[in-house]
């Protein structure tokens, strides 16, 4: 039996893994709670073991970093200081009298609930892709760039034979090269930003020789796979009746408007599209953590303003895996010190701090380069669906804004149903914000995932109170938890 304090880390991507390892090596008992069947998150998503891939690194970067994380995870698990709960989809974290309760749903079906109690939590919930609507974006064959990559890395499948990769952001490069390496014909990489803008941001980039080298490396890969790159271009429409058959792309002028007469059609069966990432902030918001825009606000130690709650990685602002690793490491060290009642010593993590500063500066520079092209919202035709779940069109949102006063996300949701469906507005919020002219802010979603009513009805009785034998909590019970004594 251990007397160690207990940290629950939500999310086993780069930030969560770095945080879990940093805390576990410093005398904290860690429960790593993650939705995936395997650690890695989206960036280091691993193929299903039954596929028996002997060379998964062929689809990955920074494999050595992943090996180091995976080895650390195995070591601490072996030593009994770290428990990795796979297939745990966390839907809510709640403060109880002297602990935090992490409520999760089990397995892919998510029909059974479990609750893990801990003294503190690190939210490393990652992010998801932003896609701005255009005609035809709901056709089968149109997928998010990250989705195509996730299916490739995890399931070793391709979305189709001929792929156009489009949108904006640094994710498009690995998606295009990864799909090409795996055998897809990448008919074009369509990026709305321009290389010139990237160079104008040289101060941010110059501090990142590694990133420049990575860029050069991708350029080499694109050339090797003969992927045509259309910079400062955008997809204006996807075509097809029941599935995608082609896309129309057009060139953008310096101000981001479409240059007349430049439209051309590219036949394809897949469009992998993305316009950057958004943080998952639901758990933090429900805990009462302050947000800054669409991200969780943290201090220099990655602490939120709610005692006992740390956050790291994309949840605190999208910046990529390297930044997530640095933030997770700092969060884990801060949590380890503070949970044991000592004062952290930031100079001890100076290297991670420097990396964090550098990567944040870099991601700020990228954000300005990879901003969606001007006028994207006005270009969405009235008959284009923007809320994929409830099938609400751009025209309906515009009409509600104009005639009913739906000039913020909540009013637009109430008056058009945009954002009321299965995804709870995660997919449509950027577009609805653009159409109504309001800023994109994080929504309030007390349930981070759909929860069966039977699970809600069967929630444990009193916080920290005695539990009936066989109660769902016991499945993840760890009898050394201070909260359960």
């Amino acid at each position: 039996m251990s007397e160690r304090v207990h940290l629950a880390v939500v999310g086993a991507g780069p930030a969560g893994l770095a945080g879990a390892l940093a805390a576990a090596s410093r005398g904290v008992r860690v429960t790593l709670v993650d939705a995936g069947d395997r650690a890695g998150g989206q960036f280091y998503r691993q193929p299903a073991p039954a596929l028996n891939a002997r060379r998964p690194q062929a689809l990955h970067h920074q494999w050595r970093t992943w090996r180091r994380l995976a080895d650390g995870l195995a070591r601490h698990t072996e030593a009994g200081y770290l428990t990795h709960l796979t297939g745990h989809h966390v839907w809510c974290v709640q403060r109880e009298s002297d602990s935090l309760a992490v409520h999760a749903l089990l397995g892919p079906e998510q029909e059974e609930g479990v609750t893990v109690h801990a003294d503190a939590v690190l939210l490393a919930t990652g992010g998801y892709e932003r896609v701005l609507p255009f005609p035809g974006w709901t056709l089968p064959g149109v997928v998010t760039a990250g989705g195509a990559q996730a299916m490739l890395k995890g399931g070793l499948v391709l979305p189709g034979r001929t792929v156009v990769v489009a949108g904006t952001g640094p994710l498009l490069l690995p998606v295009a090269t990864g799909l090409a390496a795996a055998g897809a014909r990448v008919a074009a990489l369509v990026e709305s930003a321009s290389p010139a803008a990237l160079l104008r941001r040289a101060p941010g980039l110059a501090a990142q020789p590694g990133k420049l080298a990575e860029g050069v490396w991708y350029a080499g890969l694109l050339a090797r796979h003969r992927v045509p790159v259309l910079a400062r271009h955008t997809v204006v429409a996807a075509h097809g009746t029941d599935r995608l058959t082609a896309v129309t792309v057009a060139a953008l002028d310096r101000t981001g408007r479409i240059r007349p007469g430049t439209a051309r059609r590219i036949p394809c069966d897949t469009l992998a599209v993305g316009h950057g990432m958004l943080p998952h902030t639901d758990l933090a918001e429900t805990l009462g953590c302050a947000l800054a825009g669409t991200a969780v606000r943290v201090d220099a130690e990655q602490r939120t303003d709610v005692p006992g709650v740390w956050a790291a990685g994309e949840a605190t602002g999208v910046g990529g895996a390297a930044l997530a690793l640095a933030e997770g490491h700092i969060a884990g060290r801060s949590a380890a010190a503070r949970m044991r009642g000592t004062v952290p010593d930031p100079p001890a993590w100076a290297a991670a701090d420097r990396a964090r500063t550098r990567h944040r500066a870099f991601s700020t520079a990228l954000d300005t380069v990879y901003a969606p092209p001007a006028g994207w919202a006005e270009r969405i035709p009235d008959d284009t669906v923007v809320c994929r779940c409830e099938e609400v069109t751009a025209g309906e949102v515009r009409t509600a804004a104009r005639t009913l006063g739906a000039t913020d996300l909540r009013s637009a949701k109430l008056l058009t149903r945009a954002g009321m469906g299965w995804c709870q507005g995660r997919m449509c919020a950027p577009a609805v914000a653009g159409l109504t002219g309001c800023p994109l802010t994080a929504a309030r979603r007390p349930f981070a995932r759909p929860v069966p009513l039977g699970v809600l009805a069967g929630l444990p009785d009193a916080p920290d109170g005695p539990k009936a034998p066989g109660a769902p909590e016991d499945r993840a019970a760890d009898d050394s938890s201070p909260a359960q004594q």
Partner: protein
């Protein structure tokens, strides 16, 4: 919602109407409501009379703004678990029938005809065909649109302007004054604050409620279905959490589950005990819900006055000030009747219901007896 209805009927009475709200349309309790238009939960008395008037008016709006607001006269079904509860419910319904409510007893054997998926162990119930539903935010927005009143959203009332003789002459806002010979306080849960700006007391308190919204489903729940103990909870004075399940399907697909009641101030944070009780209660009525997923939950704050009746009508303490707030959980349903009564009072007519039980000054220490 109440403000929108007041605006509609006042405009129809020929008045020039301005609507001021510090937030967006339906930004307060309306946006968190289920849209219940109920006569079934009201005992004979002034509130039931107001509910019956309101139900008739909602029906008349059904072809216009009501249609846009998904008005659906689906009817209510109140069920009892035990023979004793059924006896009490049947007696309650008999009283309502005498007051003009359509209330049809339903035997246990007939329940599946009305609701095929109800739990099998119920003793019986009463069917209320007059119960209906609207989508509240749409209702408020479309009533406002239909009435043509000028809308000042995002504008906060910071004061009530009164003349030397105490007469109300308009409101002060953060973006300039609005002059008007009459001001209607339809600030809902915040109606007490607005009354205070005019120097009068109106003890409106928030009573928090959570609603659970499920995944979209085929139409498995046809009526608004609730257990007979709901009526007791509504009338309760307890500050503690009380939940009685109210389950209904919607035109859009999701099933809505209410209704918890607790007095905890304006605390919007998630209460798992409240949603747990809602979920358990709903499964008790409709066992299939056990595996159905809740997509979201949200809290709203019902405007609650100590005697559970709203404040409707002129305020003798501040001539020119009219109140239309404090409807607790029935504001959507009672909005039309309230709007009609306010319009009649504003135009100097005789309101078609006696406003005495709704007098805003009734909570003063002297009962408002002295002018």
């Amino acid at each position: 919602m109440v403000g929108a209805a007041c605006a509609l009927y006042a405009a129809r009475a020929g008045l020039d109407v301005r609507v001021v709200d510090r937030g967006p349309v339906a930004g307060g309790t309306t946006g968190a409501g289920e849209g219940n238009l109920l006569v079934s939960d009201k005992e004979p008395g002034p509130e039931l009379e107001l509910a019956l008037l309101s139900a008739r008016l909602w029906e008349r709006l059904a072809d216009g703004p009501g249609a846009a607001a998904e008005y659906e006269p689906k009817g209510g079904l109140v069920v009892a678990r035990t023979p004793a509860a059924l006896a009490a419910l049947t007696e309650f319904a008999a009283g309502q029938r005498a007051a003009g409510v359509l209330a049809e007893p339903v035997s246990a054997a007939e329940l599946p005809d009305l609701e095929p998926h109800l739990a099998a162990d119920l003793a019986g119930g009463v069917h209320y065909p007059q119960d209906a539903q609207v989508m509240p935010a749409l209702a408020a927005a479309h009533l406002l649109r239909a009435c043509g009143a000028r809308l000042h959203t995002g504008r906060t009332v910071t004061g009530v302007i009164r003349g030397p003789d105490g007469t109300v002459r308009g409101v002060r806002t953060d973006r300039g004054d609005l002059s008007a010979p009459a001001v209607v306080n339809a600030a809902g849960t915040w109606g007490g604050d607005l009354a205070a700006l005019a120097g009068v007391r109106l003890p409106v308190l928030p009573r928090r409620g959570f609603v659970l919204v499920t995944e979209p489903l085929p139409r498995l729940v046809r009526h608004k279905v609730y257990a007979a103990d709901y009526v007791a909870d509504v009338a309760s004075d307890s500050a503690a959490l009380r939940t009685s399940p109210v389950v209904e399907g919607t035109a859009a697909g999701p099933v809505l589950i209410g209704a918890s009641r607790e007095r905890v101030g304006f605390d919007r944070s998630l209460s798992l005990p409240a949603v747990r009780a809602l979920a358990a209660g709903a499964i008790g009525l409709f066992p299939f819900l056990e595996r159905v997923r809740a997509l979201r939950t949200y809290a709203g704050f019902r405007p609650y006055l100590p005697d559970h009746l709203p404040a409707i009508g002129p305020d003798p303490r501040a001539p020119g000030l009219f109140h239309a707030c404090g409807h607790e959980g029935a504001g959507i349903g009672l909005a039309t009747g309230t709007g009609r009564l306010i319009a009649q009072a504003l135009t100097g007519g005789t309101p078609e219901l006696d406003l005495t039980p709704f007098r805003p000054e009734r909570f003063d220490a002297d009962g408002g007896d002295t002018p």
